[in-house]
Amino acid sequence: MSVLAVSDLLKSYRAPDGTTTPVIDIADFAVSAGEQVALRGASGSGKTTLLHLIAGILTADGGSIEVDGRFVTDASEVTRDRIRAQSIGYVFQTFNLLQGYTALENVRLGMMFGTGANTGRARELLTRVGLGDRLDYRPSQLSVGQQQRVAVARALANQPPLVLADEPTGNLDPRLAGEALTLIRDLCREQDAALLLVSHDSSILAQFDRVVDLAELNRAHLNYESTTPTDA
């Protein structure tokens, strides 16, 4: 059973001069429940845009995205927010931790808009990622590797069926990258969450059974220039 199903997905970028440039054009793509898939793509190939479309942060121009049985496309913004809060965990390359919040509070935030904050679970998760003694530390008081671990714990806090990871090791040195990848994969397995991880690092990609080349998947990539589209 697919936890993510993408079909005839279209997204274009409208330039200031009025011309439109296709960014995403994917005929068919699916991720099964609990499956771990790596998405290979060079910089500017539309990786982040695709993840944003799946997460409902951007809206598609056409086609459909189904996450855990719910259609992201055609859903209202509030519904997309709810799907993102309840069904998707997101790990960013830049971690995107809130600086004014402690590690524990950052993880609680990951649950707050979905099933509701659970301090006990947040504490357990942080302990699981090796930060049981850093609960009250702010991101600025943590190392880069520790920040990424907090981000991973936050993404999985809500026990989402789908985790999206956008170059999660891009800001880490090889040793830390390896540790972070292992952690993400292990946690996803433990929670039976599907993982869609985007990377262009071959050593990362080599660890996945299923690697999808975005250049092949995305029919629009040939015409695409590095641009981040925004919703109107």
Binding site: V78, R84, A85, L97, L98, G100, Y101, G110, F113
Partner: protein
């Protein structure tokens, strides 16, 4: 629930700007409450309080000046009335009490009032009489004795057994009546009225002070001796404090007509609260201006809430984008900012009570010092609940613009750190 969590963290993160905004709001809130409370209380103190009298009979002239001079012991006396007019009014069966006041001297700036022993017998408020604190006693009308108000005692150091010489007029630097020594025989218990600032002496003793008797209708002068009684025709007094039998307004109307028809001799200030009410009505524009200034300060405070939040919006765009990426709706983010501005205003409103009590304490001290009127800093005024509520509402409104900016934050654009 989400909003409160986000607000707590945000306030913690922006401690300095929050503290400055809270202080500005507190000042505004405290100022508004103080202006309204002071305005209401001074009006009540001057207009609404029972002073034990219904009317004041005095020289022809300003009723307001007469009331300020006799009731509040402010201003100069508008002049004198013949003693026989006092005796006539005193004999009126509708008049329960006619207390004569003879003014014209001071001691260290405190008014000296010649009056009768009835002063110690009547109730200036229900159940309250002027009492002389032990070990003192009331003055004896036959001697140059004085009973002083509690404030006078505290300020001048005079006490029972002290002696003093009156100074002519209301100026403390005026001519001293060096031959007219007075003995303080008692200190009044505090009354929290302007009377606490008065030195009371017997009428007869007042007339015996140099220059206090007058030529009679025939132009004949009189030199009072120690033993004789001063003839009424040589006496003039400043005012007569009147209480009507049954405190009947009809007596006031009748007396007022009679005094007005008796020529340019006297004025009856009646009703007393009406006279003072006119003063406050005339000065109403001052209160309005104060209120306007207070409202402007409130607007400035609301503006400071808006500015402090709005200025952080750019640095917080990524924060909002992250929250949205975690599933927060636009409404959640919008509500968080509105709640934050309302909470800042609420903190300011709470702290505003401290500002209010500070302003009122200082103002009460000044008012008491200048007039003897007591302003109750703990008295309730509707402004004490309305102002905080309005401030919180205004604070919430101030958050709308920043909240709209947060509401419109584009998630995809702002998720990446800006360099």
């Amino acid at each position: 629930m989400h909003s409160l969590f986000l607000v707590r963290r945000s306030l913690r993160q922006h401690k300095l700007s929050t503290a400055v905004t809270v202080i500005a709001t507190a000042l505004a809130c405290g100022l508004v409450m103080a202006v309204f409370a002071l305005s209401a209380q001074t009006r009540a103190a001057f207009v609404g309080g029972d002073i034990g009298f219904d009317a004041v009979l005095g020289a022809r002239g300003s009723k307001l000046q007469l009331v300020l001079n006799t009731v509040f012991h402010l201003e100069t006396s508008p002049g004198n009335i013949p003693y026989k007019l006092y005796k006539t009014v005193e004999a009126d069966p509708a008049v329960e009490l006619a207390l004569p006041y003879a003014l014209g001297d001071n001691y260290q700036g405190f008014r000296i009032v010649g009056t009768s022993e009835q002063l110690f017998a009547f109730e200036y408020q229900v159940g309250k009489k002027y009492r002389v604190a032990a070990p003192g006693r009331a003055f004896n009308s036959r001697y140059a004795e004085a009973v002083i108000g509690s404030e006078v005692a505290a300020r001048t150091g005079l006490r029972a057994g002290s002696k003093f010489y009156p100074t002519h007029g209301t100026n403390p630097d005026g001519m001293v009546h060096e031959e007219d020594e007075f003995l303080v025989v008692g200190v009044m218990e505090p009354t929290n009225t302007p009377s606490d600032r008065v030195i009371w002496i017997p009428m007869e003793a007042f007339f015996r002070i140099g220059g206090h008797v007058f030529a009679n209708d025939k132009g004949e002068m009189y030199e009072p001796k120690d033993v004789d009684t001063i003839p009424d025709e040589h006496k003039e007094i400043s005012a007569v404090m009147l209480r009507f039998r049954g405190r009947a307004p009809i007596t006031g109307m009748r007396l007022s007509q009679r005094i007005n028809n008796s020529g340019n001799v006297a004025t009856l200030a009646w009703p007393l609260d009406g006279v003072m009410g006119e003063l406050f009505d005339k000065l109403g524009w001052v209160t309005k201006i104060l209120e306007l200034v207070a409202y402007l300060v409130v607007l400035v405070a609301a503006g400071s809430i808006l500015a402090s939040l709005y200025n952080t919006m750019n640095e917080r765009r990524r924060e909002f984008a992250i929250l949205r990426a975690l599933g927060a709706t636009r409404t959640t983010v919008f509500a968080a900012i509105i709640t934050e501005s309302a909470v800042i205003a609420a903190f300011g409103a709470v702290l505003g009570f401290a500002v209010y009590f500070l302003i009122l304490t200082v103002a009460a001290s000044v008012v008491k010092d200048r007039t003897g009127v007591i302003v109750d800093t703990l008295a309730f005024n509707p402004a004490l609940w309305k102002t905080p509520l309005y401030m919180i509402g205004l604070g919430a409104l101030s958050g709308i613009l920043p909240a709209l900016k947060a509401y419109g934050t584009d998630v995809a654009t702002n998720l990446t750190p800006q360099t």
